[in-house]
């Protein structure tokens, strides 16, 4: 029965996504290995992997913010406030290391607060360049990655040589290529999995040991490639935004519930995470720097990229023949907010209807969002 096999594998993925920090704590006790948390978006996890530790990308949980309120203003974004809150409550204390990479002011603040309040954790802040056109940007990126590498070596108590780093890059490239296969499979069979499940698969890849995830994903793809789901009826949509956290499943269900079908995305917990690989030839640190500088998808936290985000977005929406775009904007996400006017204008100019949905950590009434999304779908008809 292929469906039940698919469900079994999906349950494995869901297990860790539903309670990431509890499960990781259990994993650590069972495996006696160090775990290093990474802030989302830019830091190459391969480096932590090569040091024999488990890299995990920090995920927002649904927990109500309580203690964290006294550490941070309420106008910080959801994931920042949530991580501070669960951090000061002790839920991240199982981590051995924490690496924040420079993505925004809120993220920087979070790194400082966690460093002060969790003294037992080795906290690093990777100052990866924001402007890609500056002179010497490649040298500076390599220099910074080398500095972090040395810091990780100290934490791991072992050297990260080129050979092991290359092996780790290969492990990550393999997983990324499988996620791209899933992406292609979804585009070919839009009703294969609800979009919330695709998010779960990508999120679990950020939390599980990569080798284990790859093995499960290979099995899942093998099962799914034989299935012919019913043809998809509905209005095709492109999902854009959510630069460093997964949209809540409720929102994804709402989009599909009112007749939308998500064909493609540029979400962090989506195409952005697995779109490009690091090169296998030459120096591995340089390969990671190159992946960051030259292969990065357009993003508002970096300048001097080969293509601006709004132009890239229009091209992607057109390529997947979506009838419209849903821009999911995390409340108080400054980089996205600053960029949204350009996106709005570019989509309008290209004749692509879009709707912006502001999402929040705190559970708000979804009825208003449902009405707006349903009206948007009615508008597309």
């Amino acid at each position: 029965m292929p469906r039940s096999k698919i469900n079994d594998i999906m349950d494995r993925f869901r297990e860790i996504v539903d309670k990431p920090y509890e499960k990781l704590k259990q994993w650590k006790e069972a495996n006696k290995k160090k775990i290093v948390g990474c802030s989302p978006m830019h830091f190459p996890e391969e480096m932590i992997h090569a040091a024999g530790m488990l890299p995990v990308v920090l995920q927002e949980t649904d927990e109500t913010i309580t203690t964290g309120f006294s550490y941070l203003y309420p106008f910080f974004c959801g994931i920042t406030r949530n991580l501070i809150d669960i951090g000061v409550k002790g839920q991240l204390s199982f981590l051995d290391g924490l690496i924040y990479a420079d993505i925004c002011v809120q993220n920087r603040t979070a790194a400082s607060i966690l460093r002060q309040n969790l003294p037992a954790i080795h906290v690093e802040f990777a100052q990866l360049p924001s402007s890609f056109t500056r002179k010497g940007v490649m040298e500076n990126t390599v220099k910074e990655l080398d500095r972090i590498k040395a810091s990780l070596e100290k934490l791991a108590g072992r050297k990260i040589d080129d050979k092991s780093l290359k092996q780790s890059i290969a492990v990550y490239n393999k997983n990324r290529s499988l996620l791209r296969r899933l992406h292609d499979l979804h585009k070919a069979n839009l009703r294969l999995l609800p979009y919330r499940d695709i998010q779960v698969i990508v999120q679990s890849s950020m939390l599980m040991p990569k080798e284990e995830h790859t093995e499960l994903l290979e099995k899942l793809l093998a099962e799914m490639e034989g299935i012919k789901p019913p043809s998809a009826k509905g209005n095709k949509l492109f999902l854009s935004g959510h630069l460093c956290q997964s949209p809540k499943a409720d929102i994804l269900d709402l989009i599909e519930g009112v007749g939308g079908i998500v064909v493609d995305d540029d979400l962090y917990t989506g195409y952005r995470y697995y779109a490009v690989d690091a090169e296998m030839n030459g120096s591995p640190v340089e390969a990671l720097a190159k992946r960051h500088l030259e292969k990065s998808l357009p993003v508002p936290t970096r300048t001097g990229l080969p293509m601006r985000w709004e132009k890239y977005l229009v091209e992607r929406v057109k390529a997947c023949r979506a009838q419209g775009a849903v821009v999911l904007l995390v409340k108080f996400c400054e980089p996205h907010l600053f960029y949204y006017p350009f996106i709005k204008d570019a989509l309008a100019e290209a004749g692509i209807p879009h709707i912006m949905v502001e999402t929040e950590h705190e559970v708000v009434s979804l009825e208003g969002v449902r009405t707006r999304l349903q009206a948007f779908i009615e508008m597309l008809k």
Binding site: S365, G368, V369, T371, Q374, A375, E378, M379
Partner: protein, 262 residues
């Protein structure tokens, strides 16, 4: 018969339409909490007015925030599409619809052929809603239906700075304590709603002619403030509350004629 039922937060409305697009009957039911029963009551009363029974309903479309909560109805369509359709039917060529209902407000932009091209909805803040006016009327001990006319007599409208119903209520109480007249306070409340709606209109952009629907359109004071702020004439239908139900009835009629639009 084509029927549209609009279940809002404070009222339930039904429009019964015949095959020639004539409104056979309509009903507006006011309730403290509007639920399925209120929807059914408005439906049954409207059917009785037209001497019809439920068996004679050809197609029924529900709209409004309660559109998915009810067991009757063949289909549901959002109030955004329905208000646009209803306004377009009453005033062909309308380009902007401002709807202020009980618990939210919307601005809908239409193109020259009556299709929706953009919309904005205020569903987080109570200012700019009928509920806001209800709370204020209660605080001032003034019947809500008299607020509009009273505000036009104000000499110097008070400034209500807060956009939160709860805080605005305390602001109104302190203004009363300071000796400001009810007329000035009411005018200030209307201006607060007007400012809120002005920013929502700016979200989608305004092209005249502008039609206003929803219960708050019955308040001449709010309409007057909006006309001043938007620097345009606002057309108010004789029964602004039934525009959504009318749109739903028109969509139901499309279904009966086999041309489905939404």
């Amino acid at each position: 018969m084509a029927v549209g039922v609009d279940i809002g937060s404070l009222t339930a409305k039904t429009v019964v339409m015949d095959s020639d697009c004539h409104i056979a009957s309509y009903r507006v039911i006011q309730g403290k909490i509007v639920d399925e029963a209120a929807g059914i009551a408005s439906l049954n009363q409207a059917l009785a007015d037209a001497h019809l029974t439920q068996a004679e309903i050809g197609f029924l479309i529900t709209t409004g925030y309660g559109r998915n909560m009810v067991s009757f109805g063949h289909k549901s369509i959002t109030e955004i599409s329905c208000h646009a359709r209803g306004a377009q039917f009453l005033f062909p060529g309308v380009r902007t619809v401002i709807d202020i209902g009980g618990q939210d407000s919307k601005v809908i932009s239409l193109n020259g052929t009556g299709s929706i091209i953009n919309f904005a909805m205020n569903d987080k803040c109570a200012a700019g809603t009928g509920r806001f006016l209800e709370v204020m009327a209660h605080a001032l001990e003034v019947p809500i239906e008299e607020m509009g006319a009273l505000s036009l007599e104000a000499k110097s409208p008070a400034t209500i700075s807060s956009i939160c119903t709860v805080f605005a209520e305390s602001e109104v109480i302190s203004l009363t304590a300071q000796g400001r007249t009810k007329l000035d306070i009411i005018a200030g409340i209307h201006e607060a709603i007007g400012r809120r709606m002005h920013s929502l209109v700016n979200h989608v952009g305004m092209t005249p002619p502008v039609v206003m629907s929803g219960g708050v359109a019955k308040n001449v004071g709010v309409v007057h403030v909006l006309e001043k702020l938007l620097e345009t004439e606002i057309i108010v239908p004789p029964e602004p509350q039934i525009v959504g139900a009318l749109g739903a009835a028109l969509f139901a009629r499309d279904e009966l004629k086999g041309k489905v639009k939404a």
